[in-house]
Amino acid sequence: MIEFRSVTKEYPDGTRAVEDFSLVIPSMKTTVFVGSSGCGKTTILRMINRMVDPTSGSIQIDGADIGGIEPVGLRRSIGYVMQNSGLLPHRKVVDNIATVPLLKGVKKAEARQQALELMDTVGLDRAFADRYPSQLSGGQQQRVGVARGLAVNPNILLMDEPFGAVDPLVRSDLQEELIRLQRDLEKTVVFVTHDIDEAFYLGHQVVILQKGGHIAQVGTPAEILANPADDFVATFIGANRGKRALHIEETPTGSILVDDDGRPAGTLTGPVPVSGSRDTSGGQR
């Protein structure tokens, strides 16, 4: 469990990126921060591994204040994946994955062996092991980034818009893969995005942020969708513009679901159930 207690971050230039932010991030679930550009998502995420230190307030991991933990060691125990993967371009894929174990003094052969296994875990062909990152596609690079994040078998995985720069098709694959990984490995995933669809898809807990890291709403996707806390949230998730309010329309080629703008959203399958067949209150999966 990660807990923020009225954390504020003011950058040296005076920008108050995060103000009085408090939140509990549950273990072994995926928590997604979503918000517009500059609202403080990255700042919040980076405070967890002390890339950024709060100006005031405290952050605890499983009850221990991280202010007292030496940053380099802390970072080595937390996985971190960012947009554009942040791989070291001068190291081969396998060495990139083994970066942190090697820093920690694991023997080279062992670290490489482990890295190859991780490639399987994230669904990367081992044939890529000896390539350089620039020789991979964007999606493959992201997988390497995830593998690197997992290399020290961390409890916590921080992900900062990891899929922001990949093709939509690949992006869907990566999202599915992440859901599978999170479920299988039971990591605490903290994920940042500004795509509300992605947030709803991945998050057990979704945190909608406004400028300054102010929380507009926290909840499961279902809770937020059904009861947007205010106008901002409604606009943000598109409910206001009718984007989420669908109705059925018949077309010559079949019947489809259309939103208030007349934008087709899909087709309706299955009967209207009397009550939810799955428990969706704790998470939608």
Partner: protein, 248 residues
């Protein structure tokens, strides 16, 4: 006695500036500046159009880089000696040597200036219907100017420093004091000449850097501060290749 104070005394003595002096400092200074100017103008006339052509078309860059590298390696002393032997005394030899010396910098300034212009900006200019000439004059030149000035600045510095060698073949300039000092075992004169040249070079450097700052297009300057935040991980232009150069 300190050589520097003697040298400054030499430079400040009015008698050394008087036109009756053997080597009036003012005259030598003007000669030096004059050679610098001539060489720089010739260099610019040769190198800038070629640089623009390379920058705009994207062709011939490999050749230009190779030739510039070679030219940069050319020892000016050798070139001046050779040219003086071949074409005799007079300004021609040193000026040609200075021009050869400065061409690589100015050429590079010209074409890298064009390179510096965002491909997408040029592409868009073409797409809205600018002719190639309009692209060169209205987009590439104004946006490439700072680097061109940078190239001219580097070239001017090399010229002003090396114009010293004009005295080697009898054409005066501030090098006179240096060769006179060396030949006469008179360190003060040599030092005085050196100080003058160094000051001249530094003044030129400052003037050019001011000019360079002045010619940065206002819009480019205005926006620069924005993207300066270290560690900014702004969303990269989501997906999609930046437009490749299309055919024209």
């Amino acid at each position: 006695m300190n050589f520097f104070s003697q040298a400054f005394a030499f430079l400040l003595a009015p008698s050394n500036w008087a036109s009756t002096a053997i080597n009036p400092i003012g005259t030598r200074l003007v000669e030096h500046l004059w050679y610098t100017l001539i060489a720089l103008v010739i260099t610019a006339v040769i190198a800038i159009p070629i640089g623009f052509a390379i920058g705009h078309s994207g062709r011939g860059r490999g050749l230009a880089v190779a030739l510039s590298g070679g030219a940069r390696a050319l020892p000016t002393l050798g070139v001046i000696s050779l040219l003086a032997l071949l074409i005799g005394l007079g300004l021609r030899a040193p000026i040609v040597a200075l021009v050869i010396l400065a061409i690589p910098s100015v050429l590079a300034g010209a074409y890298t200036g064009f390179d510096a212009v965002d491909r997408r900006t040029i592409d868009a200019a073409r797409a809205v219907g600018m002719t190639e000439w309009q692209i060169v004059t209205q987009v590439e030149i104004p946006l490439g100017l700072p680097l061109l000035i940078g190239g001219l600045r580097a070239g001017a510095l090399q010229i002003v420093a090396t114009a010293t060698l004009a005295a080697y073949v009898g054409e005066g300039g501030l090098g006179t004091f240096i060769f006179l000092g060396i030949g006469n075992n008179d360190f003060v004169t040599a030092l005085a000449g050196s100080i003058l040249i160094i000051v001249l070079a530094i003044v030129l450097e400052i003037l050019f850097s001011l000019l360079q700052r002045l010619v940065v297009p206002a819009g480019v300057r205005a926006g620069r501060a924005k993207n300066d935040r270290p560690g900014a991980t702004r969303t990269r232009a989501a997906v999609g290749s930046p437009l490749q150069e299309g055919s024209k």
